[in-house]
Amino acid sequence: MWELIQLNKRKSLFLFFIMGITLLVLGYFIGEVWLGRDGWLAGLTIAFVIWIIMSLLSYFSGDSIILALSKAKKVDRSNYPQLYNVVEEMKIASNLPKVPEIYIIPDPAPNAFATGRTPEKSAVVVTAGLLAKLNRDELQGVIAHEISHIMNRDILFMTFSGVLLGSIVFLSHIFLRSLWFSGGNRRRNSGKSGGQLQLILMLVAILMAVLAPIMARLLYLAISRKREYLADASSVRLTRYPEGLASALEKIADNDLRLKSANQATAGLYIANPLNKKGKKLSNLSSTHPPISERVRILRNIAGGVNYLQYQKAYSLITGKHGIEGKIIPDSALKDHQAIRIKKTTSESGKEDYRQKKHTLDDLIRSLNDFSFVTCPCGLKIKIPPNFKGSRLVCPRCERYIEIPVKK
């Protein structure tokens, strides 16, 4: 797993440069066309500056922007102990330095994502819908998947790729737009073979401006999909229980996934495509996520252990892709031939009471809205609204008097 992270860092850097070069080339041609001969320098500079600004912006404030965009609310151990415990368990299994921050989005669509550029400063976000529908083992599978994204530095990777993609799209966009409006070149030409050269340059620039965003987007999406498979594989290695994630994905797929607060920019980060209507099969090439049914089948076909090698085998079996095309797991992770046994299920799953879960969830939402709770000795949990005035109340079940602790 260590090597996987190193590999990921190297790949990020490589991709960074490739897309960066694309951006600069685009800038070169646009500069030439817009600003005349020797305009290429200005073009390059502008492209470079856009790139740097967007990178810095996303690197330093990416987290808070995303969290604010999604209307996520922070929770901790006292609000929802089970969720916190599940995350803490995965933190132990993955050897993270500290427990990621936990947030909840009050939306019924079940989904989850992780954010944060380093393991020290990361966050895991789930929707209220996810908490209501999944049992402990399934929840653990999803959390393990998200934490795998953090561990594999996917977030760093995808953020930079996203920024590059954004810069390329942005630059192409304004260039093409400027052509449309200003009708092209208004430069003074110092003759020579200028005319023809300018025309060629113009054509190349237009071609690039049209193709670059498309290519960059396809590249970005292909990488995003690969990352999802890798996170599935890592998740299973952490929990030792592929069925947990598999049935979680099934339950997720069975719902209308449209999340009010997700958009094109943030879609790639979720565990399931939040822009998908129920059942609609988005064409594979244009989706940030592989089809859920395929992911589930691969997980259920893992046999002989939950090491990366077994996941790779299952992937090749289900998708029929072998060799270079089917390589999901990098070679370094495949070297580990140790057989890791699949765990037996915990006693929790299957016995969860739906009503109980609903109560717990309602309580959570209440506590996030400043309700307070008091547990009567008879076992009943009494919910006190924020505007309740008074120092004691009567338990509705056993009719004891209960003192209410004074709020600070």
Partner: protein
Amino acid sequence: MIIPIIIIAVIIIGIFILIGIYNSLVQLRNRVQNAWSQIDVQLKRRHDLIPNLVETAKGYMKHERETLDSITQARSTAMHAQGIEAKSQAENALNGAMSKFFLVVENYPDLKANQNFLAVQEELTTTENKIAFSRQNYNDQVLFFNNKIQMFPSNIIASMFNFQLKEYFELEDQNERTVPKVDFS
């Protein structure tokens, strides 16, 4: 003139590589150490939770004195055990006592619905899981470390500085071998 410079350069690079390998060996070994102490933390946590569990259950399970007593006893033994062998045995015994307890709990729906009991049960579940995961993590770290010690070229540095192979942690799953008898009479 140029040859000595190249030789010196190669030596310097070689030294840096050596240092790099040594440092990563140390880092991996420290991770193993850290992972081991994690297991201990979780085991202690379980010890601390048990009195609470017994208290909560006592009111409801008036006729299950033996089961409750056996847990308390097992806990006490585990807390005072010294040495890996004894600790391992004691923790296994505690595992067994707790499984029996939870099997018996199935017969008391009132207890199962009690909020306090549910909270303690969740804490226990998570502690059990954490014990399992910290053990798993320990074994993972041992694997990474042992690999590094045994593979070329770090095995040379490892033997130079006397890095030893670490042992995996085996905690037998007691339940896989003995089927607890539950008396419904």
